[in-house]
Symmetry: C2
Subunit: 560 residues, 2 copies
């Protein structure tokens, strides 16, 4: 039952993390408290087992020459059936997985990717590039409609090597299937790091980051993976589309920028030259309290416009400090950090703290001093920044049991300009809270933090926690979630944000994406796609209108 | 003869600048010396006059409702016949202007742009968006072939207003036809600046900057206009394509990034929300000498990778110091500057000078100190940085008489990674010098400076000066230039650069562009274009293959 062609540690197909890893007692207790706080109760639910699912037989046989790279074991198929959104977890708890891929393909090399796309094009088989499978917007679900002969999930895990390092230009050629820890481990002996740490770091790939325009470590400047890409190599059904390795170019609309955000609809990225960083040797960290959230916002704006470019500048609203365990809800907290491999950041922090004081922020001067004395190592690891980061990385683990107990835990993220932010913050929280109340009959906890900041606006990231069903009924929680997600999408667009700052469009954000972009532009994308994917086999239903809209693309939102 | 519908100060149709402005005696003497140095001699040539040219009658009448915005005066048509490349100037001196537009249209507002594109689509009229007409790669020449009923040059000068300023987000909505000085004058009362200063600043427009991905003031970070664009509004023959105002987004491949670099082939940008800067209050400047150019290069690389982000960091090779009058050719010179509206840059400069000393650079410590004491104002205006900037802005003026006397003065720019730079610098200079020797029989002066720098590579900018013909014969100089330009294009590509870092592709760089990009990607662009410009009326022959390649697109390079 548990056979797999994957060579990696076995993933938990129905949730986050690897199968053999479990929550600590402390974490379990904390989740229990949270569920109780929201009015629910923890009961012992049986975790989903592979044997709980009856999968239809694969509809088509893979080509003989490639058969060794294709798996149709239930475990492999289930592991590639969904992403990791709230709705994906809920459907796993409900044992309702409507669109399981017929096969999972693990190509050995780029030629195999070419061959698979060639075969798929000729046999009307939809191909869903899987990346690390951490999509939270329906980006990897094989919900392709019935007009395809079959659907194959393409897992690039075997293309996970760092192929070349150029220390002069500080860049490396890396295969797209490498997970975060895999590529960092290979870069480390060279003294470099990509320093791209999305929340999904452990379970997402370079290729996935590129095609979803993932957001990473840096709060300013190199906020997206976009900024770290030097060149890309993408296999399309019509051939390979590779760009030249360049630090910059002004020759026409950028080819790499067409690949960035294409979400597997144009081709499969096989490798990329990426810009690297040296490991930071100097740090300066501060944890700042604002009793007035508005002043905190103004302070972040001033910092974003100062030209100081902090590497970390995350403002947590009072509710968010509770969720991430760095506060009690009485004040907003800003986690502020500078880092450099070249020079001490004391002067940068000194000026930033002037800005902080001008805006009524308070902080422990001694701890800031200490962070600069020991180059921030200790504060970085164990101070507020460390606590925040720890919570940040563990959050997806905590969600699994919470969802199984009828909780709705979800996040959505966006960006908007500073002039609109105050009304945006108020409007979005109000609309979403109303939707939660209406859909569940229970109050919502809606919190917000900034993940990235720009001179002209922040990227706010909202977390919703609510009791979806008092009896812990996941089905009614999921039904409620559909209404809430729709309301959140609409609120973000209505109040002037983007449907996604770094989570991608996938299926779940397409309604908002279609409001945000003019039809003409989407037609241009469709025309570009038709050039490289004339049969429309690549990730149909994601980002771009599927070729046959009537057939019905049912993702998490149940949208037809 | 000199009638025009333009409301701006009359441009010199055959060269740089406004018609009533002339070189100073000192400048004239300097040009004389340069021509002599190269082995030629200055003779008094009659400058081109409108009456020297016999223009064919316009082939089609504009629509009655728009007629008041259309001009067919010889002056207007000549003023829009060519850009400002070496070949454009030479052809003006030769009175050979093969592709004069039938009409010049000056739309009053966006609706007029829509109406003009609509009329042009229906009547098979090619439309060439003119911007400020400063193209140096054949981007505004009406060389559209004979398959069109006529060609109209579209001049957006009447859409030149700053419509809105958002001080909170530090952004402004600006019409695309505004020249650099026009938009800066309107921003100044608000206390802001766009701070985008290409060499063509006086005679190029916001819209032109956007569609050619112009390079500006900042040597690091916000190097291209790309980085300053918050949203765009573009009129296409199929409708308006506007993006949402956002500080950032990860929703699909970026729409604005499709407009950036489109060079008037997809539509006409009518306005954009642009990110603004506060005027700098703090500066720190240094002029650094390197007797070893290689060490200078290594120093710039270290600075580019330091995270200090100097606003100015231009390394001039020894020959370039002569051309721009800041050295005698015995050493390379680096013009280094930091600026901020928020904080003194002393600490930044202090660390940068450590890096400089580590690489054997020398500088006048007292003058650096002074630049920081008076916030860099004086050094900025009158020191090496000031001298360099003055030469930079006047250079295009000096070229006019030089070209008329048979000199070849041309520049080309590119970008490449640091690991390749040493071989690139050597290879490109060698190939180009050989081509000059072969084409003219005279030696070439080839110099290089960095216009922008990145962690993974520099953007080198080469200047060529050579005697095209000892007798001052412009025709043979132009013939030689064609060979030299072709060799330069090929050298840049062969040695691993991009065909353009910020001058755009236009017609003259298309051969290199086609080597640099995969055919598949260009087909994607063509498909996107066909969506918004189904009749193919927009700037045919630029960037993207013209619809009818057989017809023959003859630009400056004489390429069919």
């Amino acid at each position: 039952m548990n056979a797999t062609l994957s060579r990696r540690p076995l993933r938990r197909f129905w949730g986050w993390g690897v199968a053999c890893e479990h929550l600590t007692q402390e974490e379990s207790a904390r989740i229990g408290m949270m569920v109780q706080m929201l009015g629910g109760q923890i009961t012992d639910r049986t975790e989903p087992q592979v044997s709980d699912f009856t999968l239809p037989a694969p509809r088509i046989a893979p080509p003989a020459a490639l058969a060794a790279m294709f798996s149709d074991t239930p475990l492999d198929r289930l592991n590639h059936a969904l992403g990791k959104s709230y709705a994906d977890l809920a459907r796993m708890w409900l044992r309702q997985v409507p669109h399981v891929p017929d096969w999972v393909a693990y190509p050995d090399d780029e030629q195999a990717v070419i061959d698979i796309l060639d075969w798929a094009s000729r046999h009307n088989v939809a191909v869903i590039p899987y990346g690390g499978g951490s999509s939270v917007c329906g980006g990897v679900e094989a919900a392709v409609g019935s007009s395809y002969a079959a659907a194959v999930s393409l897992d690039m895990e075997r293309l996970n090597r760092v192929l070349e390092v150029d220390p002069t230009s500080r860049a490396a050629r890396i295969q797209a299937g490498a997970l975060g820890p895999e590529l960092e481990a290979q870069l480390k002996p060279h003294g470099y790091t990509l320093r791209h740490y999305p929340q999904s770091f452990e379970f997402s790939t370079l290729g996935g980051w590129i095609v979803t325009r993932a957001g990473g470590h840096y709060a300013t400047l190199m906020t997206h993976i976009d900024d770290l890409v030097e060149s890309t190599r993408m296999v399309t059904p019509s051939g390979v589309c590779a760009s030249r390795r360049l630090p910059a170019s002004g020759a026409g609309p950028s080819q790499d920028r067409m690949v960035l955000g294409s979400e597997g609809t144009l081709g499969v990225v096989t490798e990329a030259w990426m810009r690297l960083q040296e490991r930071p040797r100097y740090r300066a960290n501060a944890s700042v309290r604002f009793t007035d959230y508005k002043q905190g916002v103004q302070c972040v704006r001033a910092l974003a416009q100062s030209g100081l470019y902090p590497s970390n500048c995350r403002l947590l609203d009072p509710m968010e400090t509770v969720f991430s365990g760095v506060g009690d809800g009485s004040a907003a907290v800003m986690v502020l950090g500078f880092e450099s491999a070249d020079h001490p950041m004391n002067e940068w922090m000194r000026r930033a703290l002037e800005v902080v004081r001008d805006h009524g922020g308070s902080y422990d001067a001694e701890s800031v001093e200490r962070s600069m004395r020991d180059d921030g190592g200790e504060e970085h690891r164990s101070g507020t920044a460390g606590a925040w980061r720890q919570a940040f990385l563990r959050m997806p683990y905590w969600r699994d049991p919470a969802v199984g107990n009828g909780l709705i835990m979800d996040t959505f993220e966006t960006a908007t300009t500073w002039d609109r932010f105050e009304a945006f913050y108020k409007g979005v929280r109000k609309d979403v809270a109303q939707a939660v109340q209406q859909a569940t009959g229970h109050p919502a906890f809606v919190s917000c933090r900034f993940t990235h900041i720009y001179p002209d606006g922040p990227a706010p990231y909202f977390t919703i926690a609510a009791l979806g069903s008092a009896q812990g009924d996941v089905a009614s929680a999921l039904a409620a979630w559909r209404e809430i997600k729709q309301a959140a999408n609409e609120a973000v667009i209505k109040h002037g944000g983007t449907i996604t700052h770094h989570h991608a469009v996938g299926r779940d954000h397409r309604p908002g994406y279609e409001q945000e972009t003019p039809p003409l532009y989407r037609q241009m994308l469709q025309a570009a796609k038709a050039t490289v994917d004339p049969q429309g086999i690549l990730n149909p239903g994601v980002l771009i209108d599927p070729r046959d809209r009537q057939v019905g693309i049912t993702g998490a939102l149940g949208r037809t």
